[in-house]
């Protein structure tokens, strides 16, 4: 049987429309599941203990503790640390690639950076343990390097390819006429980059940063392996930390279903989801404002 071109078209439209809606449904389903199970935790844990407690120790010796602040603090510390490293490096690299890299160099760098995104997080975690940890210990005079900084550096490495690729596309998309106009009034290449090209590409760059942030926020295996997983509230970049993702990954496997601990882990997951949703909405709003002010 032969399918005519128009029928094939229609079929394809239906299939892809379906898959697009499916992702919306799945996302809503995940969110509902997280919220539903997460809320059950508050039948047994007081909300103020969960949101304002500093001690997370569900398998405590005398009594369980479900304070999420140390996990939240660890996650924010590691993720923001990663962003401090990755944002300037990423945007700088993107600007270099699109504005001044010779074609030969570009042809080597571009695929290497894209390949970098494909490194499994377990492999990076292993590098964190065996290479980065002793190096950090040596450089900062610590006894060991299983610390928040280790995780932040590894997460920066993971977020970099995303930030570079997306910002580079954004910078390339700035019309040539913008740059030419800038050169015509006598601006140097530097001034043009800082004052014209980067601001014009800002909405895309913000998207890039937020994608990188999301990547770092949700990453589990690398931080689980490299940051020591101590339960204490993080005292800085030189202390071991346990992030929200690591807590879920470590503890869910041994948790019996429908127990307080089980629901508490869902509550942690819901909180993580809420944070990344908030970050996305925020970046969308900021990016839109830049888009309007540009035209």
């Amino acid at each position: 049987m032969k399918i005519s071109a128009t029928r094939a078209d229609k079929l394809a439209t239906v299939v892809f429309q379906f898959s697009a809606w499916l992702s919306v449904v799945v996302l809503a389903g995940i969110f509902t599941l997280l919220l539903y199970n997460g809320f059950k935790a508050f039948d047994r844990i007081r909300p103020q203990e969960f949101f304002l407690g500093y001690t997370w120790n569900p398998s405590g010796y005398s009594a369980p503790h479900y304070g999420v602040l140390s996990l939240l603090g660890s996650t924010l510390l590691v993720t923001c640390g990663a962003m401090v490293i990755a944002i300037p490096l990423g945007i700088g690299t993107a600007a270099y690639l699109s504005e001044s890299a010779p074609p030969r160099v570009y042809q080597i760098l571009k695929p290497v950076i894209e390949l970098f995104a494909g490194i499994p997080s377990v492999a990076l975690g292993f590098i964190g343990i065996t290479i980065l940890s002793p190096v950090l210990a040596h450089v900062f005079g610590l006894s060991n390097g299983l610390i928040a900084l280790n995780g932040a550096i590894l997460l920066a490495l993971m977020a970099l390819p995303t930030i570079i690729t997306v910002s580079e596309d954004a910078i390339r998309a700035v019309p040539k006429t913008f740059r030419e106009a800038s050169f015509a009034v006598g601006a140097t290449r530097e001034t043009t980059l800082w004052r014209v090209t980067l601001p014009a590409a800002m909405s895309g760059i913000i998207t890039a940063v937020m994608l990188g942030f999301g990547r770092a926020l949700g990453e589990t295996m690398t931080v689980l392996m490299a940051t020591g997983n101590a339960l204490a509230f993080p005292g800085g970049f030189f202390e071991p930390v346990r992030t929200m993702t690591a807590a879920i990954a470590i503890e869910l496997g041994e948790t019996a279903q429908h127990t307080t601990h089980y629901y508490a882990l869902f509550a942690v997951g819901a909180l993580l989801f809420a944070i990344s949703l908030l970050v996305n909405i925020l970046s969308e709003t900021i990016a839109r404002r830049f888009r309007y002010s540009q035209s």
């Binding site: 006894s143 204490a232 041994e254």
Partner: protein
């Protein structure tokens, strides 16, 4: 090429779907990371003798293994701690009658970096170090340096055993919780301020470890009394070395066929020789009789 691709795909699907030839008995073993290498060695030797048995051994922690046994996902659960009351209750509810067979004795070693001047501690000092009460090596006569604690994650039998037996309180929140014993030992061998614990089997095989990078602490009963090492069988067997524990294999009642044969093999003379080779200690005669009694009592019932 275009024609051969579907063929390969089909062959691959057929391969993944194939069943084992008739007569082969599959045995799943899951649980304790402390026991995983030992049980793997036992399984390999057993399969050489019994080609009809196919045994798969995985780790994941004692809690994970027991959970799998309760969910019917494994034939044998390796555990470095006894089942607790909630687990027993769940087993009862699900109609599972776990037998606790002891296949070996483990001595838990306290490990520090090779350059640490301290080479003996008593049990209460060790407990206070891990609870965070003693947090600087200078407090117990060492160098002025913050102690860096290493332990396992809470799904580990060793984590719970050590807490019950030695710490008797919550671990310090600064305890770094490592993924496995291998990772823990790796970290300890580079951390001059570190202290951690590991099953003796992990340290007793020199070819597997850089034994010169760390040091095993000798344990004293109190100040001034003599110190004992977990490497001395006589001290472990007599209990003078205080941190020892049985290594269990939990199995649902009335194992039969190759499964029964494997269990008998594991705590029998040949299995015990392998236990010794792996750095653990063989079980006592009474325990051997107790294992037999459990298996035969249950098999005789049917």
């Amino acid at each position: 090429m275009r024609k051969t691709a579907p063929f390969f795909l089909l062959a691959f699907v057929a391969w993944t779907c194939q069943k084992h030839p008739a007569g082969i008995e599959n045995i799943q073993i899951k649980g304790s990371d402390t026991e995983v290498n030992l049980v793997l060695a036992l399984a390999e030797r057993f399969m050489e003798q019994e080609p009809k048995a196919s045994i798969a051994v995985t780790g994941g922690g004692s809690g994970t293994g027991i959970a799998a046994l309760l969910n019917g996902k494994t034939s044998i659960a390796n555990a470095s701690r006894p089942m607790d009351s909630t687990e027993r209750q769940m087993a009862e509810q699900r109609g599972i009658h776990p037998l606790a067979l002891v296949i070996g004795i483990d001595a838990l070693a306290i490990v520090v970096h090779k350059d640490n001047p301290i080479d003996r501690l008593n049990l209460s000092e060790i407990g206070r170090i891990f609870s965070g009460e003693i947090h600087n090596w200078a407090q117990i006569g060492g160098p002025r340096q913050e102690i860096s604690l290493y332990g396992r994650q809470s799904n580990s039998g060793t984590f719970l055993f050590f807490r019950e037996k030695v710490v008797q309180a919550d671990y310090s929140p600064h305890l770094k919780q490592m993924n496995g014993t291998a990772q823990l030992v790796e970290a300890l061998s580079t951390d001059p301020a570190g202290i951690g614990y590991a099953g003796i089997g992990y340290l007793a095989q020199p070819e597997k470890n850089h034994t010169d990078a760390f040091k095993v602490i000798r344990i004293t009963a109190g100040p001034g009394s003599s110190a004992y090492s977990p490497f001395e069988y006589a001290d472990v067997a007599s209990g003078r070395y205080p941190i020892t524990r049985p290594l269990y294999q939990y199995v649902n009642a009335t194992p039969q066929g190759a499964l029964l044969d494997f269990l008998l093999f594991a705590f029998g003379p040949e299995g015990q020789a392998i236990v010794r080779q792996n750095g653990y200690y063989p079980i006592a005669r009474e325990q051997y009789a107790e294992n037999l009694r459990q298996l035969h009592a249950e098999t005789a019932n049917e």
